[in-house]
Amino acid sequence: MKVDRRSFLGLGLGAVAGIAVSPVGLKLTDDSSIWTQNWPWTPVPADGEVIYESSVCSLCPGSCGISVRKIENRPVKIEGRENYPVNNGGACLHGIAGLQYLYDPARVKTPLKKNGDKFEEISWDDAIALVAGKLADLRKSGSPEKFAAILDKEQGSVSGLFKRLFKTFGSPNFYTMPSFESYLEATAAAIHGEGKTIGFDLENADFVLSFGAGIIEGWGSPVNCFQANASRKERRAKLYQIEPNLSNTAANADKWVPIKPGTQADLALGICAVILKNNLFDSNATMNFKGGFNKFAAMLQKDYTPSKTAEITGVKAADIEKIAGLFAKAKKPVAVFGKGRGDGAQSLKELAAVHTLNCLVGNINKKGGVFVKSKNKYLEFPDESMDSIADAGFAKPKAGRYMNQLVEKINSSSKSVVEALFVYNANPCYSLHDTKSVKQALGKIPFIVSFSSFLDETAKEADIILPSHTFIERIEDVPSGAGLAKTVVGLTKPVASPVFNTKNPGDTVILIAKALKGSIAQSFEWESYNECLEGVTARIWDSLSEDGYAVISKGAPIEPAAVNLSFLSGNPPTVQAQGDFGLTLIPIDNMRLINAGAYVSPFAIKTVSDKVLKGKNIVVEINPLTAKGLKNGGFAIITTPIGTARVVVNFNEGLMPGVIGMVEGLGHTFENKYVSNKGVNVNDLIGPVIESGSGLDAAFGIKAKISKA
């Protein structure tokens, strides 16, 4: 027997045949195909029992009820809560994307202390001791009033605790950011007297005359407004939208009335004049007007004839007369104010002028009209104990009436006006006009404590960050407001356990107060915020804890509302845009972006059109008639008296000639690659213009020029 090559060939062939006939080939093919379909880096979400928990969203003042779907203990989806009295099952994109905030890359994971330019981690005990130490020193130095706070709102028990801390500390310098609710209260105060607020019964109105209110752009309580707007079709109700740009609301309205930016007040007064001239007003209502109704009427007939109004506003005189007729003759007309979302700069003249239309047609406190309500007072805090320092300090005047005046005061005085600042749920370095001067003012404050959940623009300026739970992780009472006709208090519940080393801001305030000892600590004798919440909401706690909400009022208020026109009868001057360039830059609100309070989530920014944000560039809108020398889709430079920006231009026929529209809510500058460093913050380009008489920042825009880049 000779072993030759041919035998080896047999060996090889046999091996191949043996393997081929064995299951190896088939099995390996099958297994490897399964392997390629199950990459280890593709996550496999854990399965389990589905449960739903109800809570309330507090991302915006809308206060919608939400239902959180959980798998075992893990929240996976937020949806609107069925039958909730505010939003009845609906939800907006920001609320639905709410879970993304839990794991946001910019979250503050543990208390931080600034050392030089960097933040260092610090324990809660050390952080509280440090804050209390600084505050005690300030108090000892005899100027407790140099302790200031900036919050998003006045309502709710957490704000209540902050206010209580400031009062017992001895400082009157408690500020809130401009919000729609604050404008409603200012309007009510100017016309109906202090302590009141306003709600619009949009779901029952049959003619809505909107002076730029972005009813489907996030104005008021957004989901409620969406629903009221959608039901217009079935109810055969009309919506007339008056604003310089074809917003979504204008596009959805029965009629869009383009108007020169910043002249809404004049148009409202012009319509008032027609209603008075043609005797279309409700004489039963006007009988009880105070503050010079005749003087007001005379002023209108002199300054706001249709032709004069047409010249100011750019709306034809015939249209003004027609709108006045339609409005006054409607069964349930409502005039609504608050440009865009209603939380940006507003002029009191405009707010009051628009609201006067409601007063003239007598729809106050009637179904389908405007409800003038007492401010929601469901909280009952026990009396504070005040020592002499507190009494003396608290009695001193505030450094400024509104936020922008505080900023101006700090920047213009050489002495320190504010020695210590608390910032909670507010991002003034991003959302106030002229952010540069806001940052400059904050830079002059030696000690800033932020309670932010995220390392946003303002938190970055802080010396200490005491991070708060997000709304998904905490308990809190959330009162509705923002122009909702009914008044509902909802309960936000911790539907997820805290992801990071954060606290409920209520607990943090209580801890600081206790560490300050003395009469301050005596005013904070709760063991925890939970205990405090249950105590101060005792009247409605059963309903809050069982149903998740309490309805405080619904339907029209019974008591009549006094009307006083003295603010308007002197015809205060209409605010003008700053600067003398040829064009006007106006901010545009977009439902898919957020410009105050929270910032946008990765999901929400994903939905933003490429006609708004393209790569890292913001896209501005301009009428082709105005865009001489510019290319559609090309780069341009916008210059305003306070800044310049490189932008992409989009020709849009839906914008009045002479106007440049820039979206609000872009241009963030913090560590979150999904939403930051994209586009320009419009507040970097617009400066505040203070309205005489009200003290409000009423800059509706700014003069600008645009040139090819």
Partner: protein
């Protein structure tokens, strides 16, 4: 390649030239080749059939042994522990909470497995990390309700007579896919004798075709 071809050609020409003298030599060579072929074939076939599965699967022991037969006789049928939730979803392997309906920190029986269970899991309130023989890829959707409530099937059809077993077999994990050997089936050729021997897509489709006349479309079984 060409060298081999050349050799083969040369060889055939040689044999054609010396057809009478070279007969025996060539026969022997071929015979040896055949033997080599057969040996190699058998060795490779057997290793592919017997050794390959040993290499392909790693054996893992369950945390402790579980006597299904005993539990069935004590507690009732499968659905006592492997239940459908109220919303119709299948709860799968019971959680500790379900076990605690009967068990407590006091050991009920006298098996050492129960002692392990109580000591390591019950007293520490820890879920038992069972290996699941029937675990499917994430892309698979399976409705127990449709099969049990809708089609009136029993558990045995797909899962086999597990209820009669007194001990848990070792969990054999496919080193490539990460899934249990039970999905492909014990038989490495994929041949099945019982309906419960395999849990591949074709097996689902086969039964669907037989019972409903249609093998189903993507989303019926995929998510």
């Amino acid at each position: 390649m060409s060298e081999i071809e050349n050799k083969a050609e040369n060889g055939s020409m040689e044999s054609a030239g010396e057809c009478t003298a070279g007969d025996t030599k060539d026969d022997k060579g071929l015979g040896l080749g055949v033997i080599f072929f057969i040996v190699a074939f058998v060795v490779c076939f057997l290793s592919g059939t017997l050794l390959f599965p040993k290499l392909l699967y790693s054996k893992k022991e369950q945390p402790f042994n579980f006597d299904h037969a005993l539990h069935v006789s004590e507690a009732g049928d499968c659905e006592t522990c492997h239940s459908l939730r109220d919303d119709g979803t299948f709860a799968g392997i019971p959680k500790l909470e379900t076990c605690l309906d009967c068990h407590s920190e006091d050991v009920l029986g006298d098996s050492k497995d129960e002692a392990v269970f109580v000591e390591k899991y019950v007293s520490k309130e820890k879920e038992v990390p069972w290996y699941i023989y029937s675990r499917q890829p994430d892309s698979v959707f399976f409705s127990h309700a449709a099969h049990i409530d809708g089609a009136g099937m029993d558990c045995v059809t797909c899962h086999g007579p597990i209820g009669k077993s007194t001990s848990l077999k070792p969990y054999e994990e496919n080193r490539i896919t990460g899934y249990s050997r039970d999905i492909w089936g014990k038989n490495i050729f994929g041949i099945k004798k019982h309906s419960w021997d395999r849990m591949k897509m074709d097996d689902c489709a086969e039964c669907h075709k037989k019972e409903t006349g249609f093998k189903g479309y993507c989303f019926q079984c995929h998510k």
